[in-house]
């Protein structure tokens, strides 16, 4: 078990490392220079000053050197300062990460609470009208883009009914973005649960369980659910990563002050230290969540921890 988790952790570190390199290269492929963007559209800075600023930020150096500087600083626990406004990147990220984690966790809870029972129900009632209706709804749910669903919910719940706040960061403000993110993911969870359960239900040991006379509810709870959950949990790990990404769009709609919005702004401003910091934190979060799920996975399925 420990060896298994150790291997996974090593893989995770490698993933983070490769991601930071890829992102450093990618952001430099996008045309545009942070210093120029900062001063674009209005005059006031001389070309010499722009050059001086660029060299003080180290932007005039080759990309591999810039990356080494980034890693060097990182090993000292320093993520640098933003190009715009010169604020601590670490502080900015730490301020905003809890908001995104709360959003993703609540959305995950919504997706699970809605998606799992419905998926299970659809599997149990497989081939019936109910199954059809549920799965068509699920496909619709997967297909609706976040921003569209978000705006619909916004105008329905906040403007027409007036029961939820529109945008910002009060305690109730998390509900609309979480609902948006949660509902579209509930559809995915439902579909995954359904197919995993159907898969398990058709296996020999279930037939055996039925044949040896176990009550139906006990078969479903003890055997089907337990075995069927393993693939669902794996997918939920991927879902969580996916949700962190989806949070970028949703946070922007509802002005939820999370890390995704910070990243979006940073990309438009080519604020490299923020983008690098964001990717690092984002990748780490995803890796940690995956790792935690691997542990859950191993707990649920003895074959994995023994291998």
């Amino acid at each position: 078990m420990l060896r298994f988790l150790g291997q996974r952790a090593a893989m995770g570190l490698l993933t983070i490392f490769v991601t930071t390199i890829a992102v450093t290269l990618l952001i430099h492929l996008v045309p545009g220079d942070p210093v120029e963007i900062m001063y674009a559209q209005s005059q006031g800075t001389t070309p010499e000053q722009i050059e001086a600023m660029r060299s003080s930020l180290g932007l005039d150096q080759p990309i591999p050197v810039q990356y080494l500087h980034f890693v060097g600083r990182l090993l000292q626990g320093d993520l640098g300062v933003t190009i715009r406004g010169q604020q601590s990147v670490a502080q900015l990220l730490l301020q905003r990460l809890p908001n995104t984690l709360a959003l993703a966790a609540l959305a995950m809870a919504i997706a699970t609470l809605i998606g799992m029972p419905l998926g299970f129900l659809a599997a149990y009632k497989r081939g019936t009208l109910l199954d059809g209706v549920l799965m068509v709804t699920a496909i619709a749910g997967i297909s609706i883009p976040h921003f569209w669903l978000g705006l619909l919910l916004l105008f329905w719940l906040a403007v027409d009914l007036g029961i939820l706040p529109v945008a910002g960061s009060g305690p109730l403000n998390i509900v609309l973005p979480a609902l948006t993110l949660g509902l579209s993911n509930a559809a995915i969870v439902a579909r995954m649960t359904r197919s995993a359960m159907i898969d398990v239900m058709s296996q020999d040991f279930i037939r055996t369980a039925h044949a040896k006379g176990l009550p139906k509810s006990r078969v479903l709870r003890r055997h089907v659910l337990r075995a069927g959950l393993v693939p669902v949990v794996t997918v939920m790990g991927l879902q969580f990563a996916f949700m962190m990404g989806g949070a970028i769009v949703v946070e922007n709609i509802f002005a939820w002050n999370g890390i995704g919005r910070l990243a979006l702004e940073a990309i438009f401003q080519r604020d490299y230290p923020v983008i690098q910091g964001f990717i690092l934190v984002f990748a780490t979060t995803v890796v940690v969540v995956m790792l935690a799920l691997d542990a859950v996975y191993a707990l649920l399925d003895p074959r994995i921890r023994r291998s």
Binding site: G32, S42, Q43, A255
Partner: protein, 519 residues
């Protein structure tokens, strides 16, 4: 299931730990914008979003009247020496910084010295001009000495780029993020980056010259400046009353005006200029005829009224209304006016015909319905045999692309719909004086003309020099003006909010705002 319970409690802890910022209450004005400030330090950023907030916290030596002309403010009068190298400002008595210290000549000197700091000068140091030194003559008199004349100094001192920073900020930790002591109508209370800025009214404020009817402190207690990037969410907030003032989605403006649910205020004299420019170092736009053909082929008036209705208007000059030297009649005489036949003729001379169209790229900055506008221009160009391929991109990418296109001696013809704003014709110096903001068109003749606009202290002589520059740019179709204003200039206002106005160069004013009965 234990897993679910653990998830649930972790979730609760997270939600509880999330910061709960100040929420709006009576006496609060809530102003929502698409983005946040970069910093509260007026020497560290140049974005309009930042400038608008500085203008509320800090005061300036001069201010602008509704036409964009510099007028006295903290300085009740000023004098320039005949050779234009010395400016003496006489300050009003009774201006007070937010920490209670009086604002005097020492604060002015502190601000300028800070902008010219050896190790960390202001990012807009160059706009102050060649200032050699600033002397405190007495507490209400301050003298600027320049190496050589620089007439753009006066309009600069009326803009928030030159915000007077009280010297009590010196050495304060967190200046620019958690500390900002000014002397403007609103006191800085707090800033949560990406979320909101809280300002409180400055009860000691005296309005010496800013464009507000209110002679003193603002009427409302607090001003909350929040960031809401999604236009539809801002509209939703305006509808529910969570937001008092915000830029609405442009597509909904006509409907809002008609329904009367919200008032619509548009900024005038924004200084914003949207124009066509070209990659002039390679065919086809190295040929003046190709550039003129574009100018003759396009009808900004028709395009704008189609896309923006009466929210924006055609602009004939390379510097927009509100900026010194702007003269619609003069510019109209020099700018090629809509004449598709003439365009076809010029293209014919160059060997292009309907069956052999001129193919170019048209780069356009995303947002503000500019994609729709570009399609109208595309259709107008197509009518004379110019096939323009629209490429939408964010402003950062576009700035880089335009420069690349100018530096690239080969490739498809390239033109772009560029957008700049400034409060003085000195903008033309930044754009077109060698080496040029985007390494585009330059010429020794134009350089000489631009240099003159910087040093002539006589208003009439300077106006003439600016006109020479504009005529040059327009006749050669280097800078083809299209319209003004062009971005973030429309404000939707709740009906119970009275007295909201926008000063020239898009500075919203909240000193006069009274909220009738907010629920």
């Amino acid at each position: 299931m234990p897993m679910r319970t653990r998830l649930g409690s972790a979730l609760l802890a997270l939600v509880a730990g999330t910061a709960i910022p100040a929420t709006a209450s009576a006496g609060d004005i809530v102003w929502a914008r698409y983005g946040d400030i970069d910093t509260l330090d007026p020497h560290r950023a140049t974005s309009t979003l930042s400038l608008q907030v500085w203008s509320l916290i800090y005061d300036t030596l001069l201010a602008t009247d509704k036409d964009g002309k510099p007028v006295p403010n903290l300085a009740e009068s000023w004098e320039a020496s005949p050779d234009g190298t010395e400016y003496t400002f006489k300050l009003h008595e009774g201006a007070v910084c937010h920490d209670g210290t009086p604002l005097d000549a020492n604060d002015v000197k502190y601000t300028v010295d800070r902008a010219f700091d050896e190790t960390n000068p202001s990012v807009t140091k160059a706009s102050w001009g060649p200032i050699e030194k600033v002397e405190v003559v007495d507490p209400t008199t301050v003298k600027f000495t320049l190496e050589k004349p620089f007439v753009a100094l006066i309009p600069f001192l009326a803009d928030s780029f030159s915000s007077i920073i009280c010297n009590s900020n010196e050495g304060k930790d967190g200046f620019g993020t958690s500390v900002a002591i000014g002397s403007g109508p609103w006191k800085f209370a707090s800033w949560t980056k990406g979320d909101q800025i809280v300002l409180e009214k400055n009860p000691d404020y005296k309005n010496f010259g800013k464009l507000a009817d209110n002679p003193g402190a603002p009427y409302e207690d607090r001003l909350l400046i929040t960031t809401v990037p999604e236009p539809q969410a801002r509209l939703a907030g305006l509808k529910t009353g969570a937001i008092d003032v915000a830029e609405p989605p442009l597509d909904d403006v006509a409907m809002l005006k008609e329904s009367g649910d919200l008032d619509v205020v548009t900024a005038e004299n924004t200084g914003q200029n949207v124009f066509f420019e070209f990659a002039v170092h390679r065919p086809p736009f190295d040929d003046v005829r190709a550039r003129q053909a574009v100018a003759y082929a396009t009808d900004p008036e028709a395009a704008i009224s189609l896309i923006y209705g009466d929210l924006s208007m055609p602009e004939q000059c390379p510097i927009s209304r509100g900026v010194f030297g702007n003269d619609q009649e003069f510019c109209a005489k020099h700018r090629p006016q809509y004449d598709p036949e003439k365009a076809t003729e010029l293209l014919g001379e160059m060997g292009y015909a309907p069956d052999k169209p001129l193919e170019v790229n048209l780069l356009v900055w995303t947002g503000g319905k500019r994609d729709k506008l570009a399609e109208v221009f595309q259709a107008q160009l197509a009518a004379v045999g110019i096939k323009a391929d629209i490429q939408m991109m964010d402003i950062g990418t576009m700035n880089a692309r335009v420069r690349q296109e100018n530096e690239n001696p080969e490739g498809k013809g390239s033109m772009d719909m560029m957008t700049w704003s400034w409060y003085d014709p000195d903008i033309l110096y930044a754009l077109w004086h060698s080496p040029g903001a985007y390494r585009g068109y330059t010429s020794p003749e134009l350089d000489a003309m631009l240099e003159k606009t910087r040093v002539l202290t006589d208003q009439d002589e300077r106006r003439k020099a600016v006109e020479d520059v504009m005529a040059h740019l327009l006749e050669k179709a280097i800078h083809v003006p299209l319209y003004t204003p062009g971005w973030e200039w429309v404000f939707a206002v709740r009906p119970e909010v009275e007295g909201f106005k926008v000063a020239p160069f898009v500075y919203p004013i909240f000193s006069d705002v009274k909220i009738a009965d907010k629920d």
